[in-house]
Structure formats: structure tokens, C-alpha cells
Point group: C2
Chain length 215, copies 2
């Protein structure tokens, strides 16, 4: 049995939930309340000294860092593949994923925004502008890729979901929360809309997690 340590609103937890659902894996969910800094408490620090979710436990094995968790899931549970079979396709899916996982998400997460507020005395309008800048710049590039790549289908790559969709949907969700105007991104919006019709994505949604307010 697998246990996922996560937080309902964490994008990296969300992408991991999507991947596990797409692979039809059962898992227990243990919420780590980042808003109450539970990730800094001794219990969780012994699980992951970096104090970050998600962490996945399977018996004696502890998986951490969502990019590594997704690759592990793909290798150990090859059914319902989330990567294409050919090397060029796999490169493309991983590159789209990294455009989100390396160039958008890390800039907008909680510890960064707290630093802007607390250490650099940045006001809330500037915090919003910061988030908008990196999300827009990232989505501009992603939209161009999705518009020009012949491999784009109902999903970011072809007509079945891949890692790239696991990364994209939580990032769109985050952009909506920060009120980023998505009208310039028709490809992203269409993929997002299609993914949300699928149970694997719906069941991973932050607002239906046990630790969501009024879940």
C-alpha cells in the first residue's frame, strides 16, 4: 500500500495525485498543513529534511521530489503509460513538464512569496505582479510550443494523458487562483478543459481533498 504525504493546495502534491490516479493506484493520504508549517515540525522533518511535500511511502521506500516520483511510478507501474514510447516523444513531454516544473512553479510557491513579503517588504500588488510575470512568461512560451508542435492532441502530447498534463493542470489552477488572464492561451485552456472531464484529474482536485476547507 502507498501513502502520499501532501497538502491539498500544493501544485506538486496535485500533480502527483493526478499521476497516481491515472495509473489507477490506491493510496492513503496524509495531509501536511503547510499553512501551519507542519512541514517544519520534527515528525515531518524526519520524513523529508527538505520539509517539502509530496512524499510517497511504499513499505521501506520513501520517494520525494515530484519529478522523481513521477518517473518512478512510470518505471514501476508501466500500465497506463504517462510517457510516449519513442525517445523524441519522451523528450518533448519531459521538456513541457520542465517548462512548468522548473521555470514557472518554483517562482510562485509559498516560501518565495513569504520571503518577498517578509524580507523584501513587497506589498500585495507587487506580489501579484511577481506571480503574473512568471506565469505569463511561462504560459507564453508553453502556448507557442503547444500551438506549433504537431504532437499536440487532446492533451499536451497526443490523445492520452502524459506527465505534461499532470504538470499543466495544477499550474492552470494556480494561475486561476492568482487571476491570471488565460484568454491568450487557447491551447492551454482547451487541454485544461478536456483534462477536467476525466475522473483521474477531478479526483485529484485540491478542493475535494480531505484537508481542503469544507471538503
Amino acid at each position: 500500500m502507498m501513502t502520499l504525504y501532501g497538502y491539498f493546495r500544493s501544485s506538486t502534491s496535485y500533480r502527483t495525485r493526478i499521476a497516481m490516479n491515472l495509473k489507477q493506484l490506491d493510496y492513503d493520504y496524509i495531509a501536511v498543513n503547510l499553512a501551519k508549517d507542519e512541514q517544519l515540525e520534527a515528525v515531518f522533518q524526519s520524513i523529508n529534511p527538505q520539509g517539502l511535500v509530496p512524499v510517497v511511502q511504499i513499505n521501506d521506500l520513501w520517494l520525494y521530489q515530484s519529478p522523481a516520483i513521477l518517473e518512478w511510478l512510470e518505471e514501476v507501474y508501466p500500465e497506463h503509460p504517462l510517457l510516449p514510447k519513442d525517445a523524441a516523444g519522451r523528450m518533448q513531454v519531459r521538456a513541457l513538464s520542465a517548462m512548468i516544473g522548473c521555470d514557472i512553479h518554483p517562482l510562485n510557491n509559498r516560501r518565495i512569496l513569504q520571503y518577498l513579503r517578509n524580507e523584501l517588504s513587497v506589498d500585495e500588488d507587487q506580489v501579484m505582479a511577481w506571480c503574473h510575470r512568471w506565469m505569463s512568461e511561462g504560459f507564453d512560451a508553453l502556448e507557442k510550443r503547444l500551438a506549433q508542435d504537431k504532437t499536440r492532441g487532446k492533451f499536451c502530447y497526443g490523445d492520452s494523458p502524459t506527465f505534461a498534463d499532470c504538470y499543466l493542470i495544477p499550474q492552470v489552477s494556480s494561475a486561476e487562483r492568482f487571476k491570471v488572464d488565460l484568454s491568450a492561451y487557447p491551447n492551454i485552456v482547451a487541454i485544461d478543459a478536456h483534462c477536467r472531464t476525466l475522473k483521474a484529474f477531478a479526483d485529484a482536485d485540491p478542493m475535494v481533498q480531505p484537508d481542503a476547507p469544507n471538503a
Copy 2:
């Protein structure tokens, strides 16, 4: 024949050069001068609309995003493997890589520091403090992992180089440039010192690239 579009000082170009050298692949090098914003010019935008290096060209195939490039190299050129054979080992190497590639590097690159300076009017002391904060927090976590993981050897994982070392050495180089005190990180320092004795790492060093000043 492969062509690498990179910049001498870019950490993501540096990690790609290390991986290509470790795999003993020949490549042409085309410098894209980020200090002169050449990545924003039409020529490079047609190559990568995200305006980021590295990009690797092999005939009609264009690889982008260093995490995806490294995985592609490993799949297409399996000799001189940069990932362990077992899934748990591969997870560990990818997780250590992501600790650097997602949680340290993206926060300290050029476009972010320029935004802090130009849009948020942050002074140079605060820019340095910003870099120190994320490098130290990331290295604290990485050092704990390397100290406790039984898989650590002469390199981040075992006694041959992996992706994790391709990520680590450029990050240490960047930390040194920002004068981060590394004395609290004996494992990181030892791995870095060992890697630097190897030709594949030495040949990838920013200061010996054709576009380095006084190269």
C-alpha cells in the same frame, strides 16, 4: 553530429556539457550571449521561443530543457550510464537532481535577479541575500540527504557519476561566485572536489568555454 547552443556561465548549459562529456559525445558549440540578450533575438527565438539555453540539435531534432535533454541522452546513448539500474536508485538520483534543478537554480538565475533589481528596486546587498537564502536552504537539505543516504559514494550516488553530479557541480560553481560559505557542507565539497579531478567535468567548466572572457 550534435550542436549545443549554450552560454559559458549558464548552469543549465554547464550541466548539459558535463553529461555530454561523460558520455564521450562530440558536439559543436554555438554561444548565445545572454549578457547581450541574444536569446531574445529572432534567430534564437525561432530555435527556442522560450528564449532559454541550452538547446541541442541533432539533424531535424531539437532538444530543449536540460532535464529532458539529459534523459534523452541517457535513453539514446546508454553507454557510460548516468542513472543507476534499479528504480529506487534512479528515483534517488533524480530526486537529488530536482532538489537543485527545481528548488535552487530557478530562483537565482539572471532573469529573476534582473526583476528584483529593476522591478522591485532591490539593492545589491539584498540580491546577494536572496541568492544566499535559496542556495543555503537548498544545500542544507542536500547535505543532510548526502550525509544520511547509504548510497552516497565518491559521487552523489555511488562511485560513478550520475545526473546528480551534473546538476551539483554547476550549482557549487554558482554558489562560489556568489561567495556562499560552503564549510557547513563537507559532503557537497568532497563530491565537488572529486568531480573536478575528472576531465569530463574540467572540460565543461565555464571558464574554458570559447565564449568565456579570455578563454
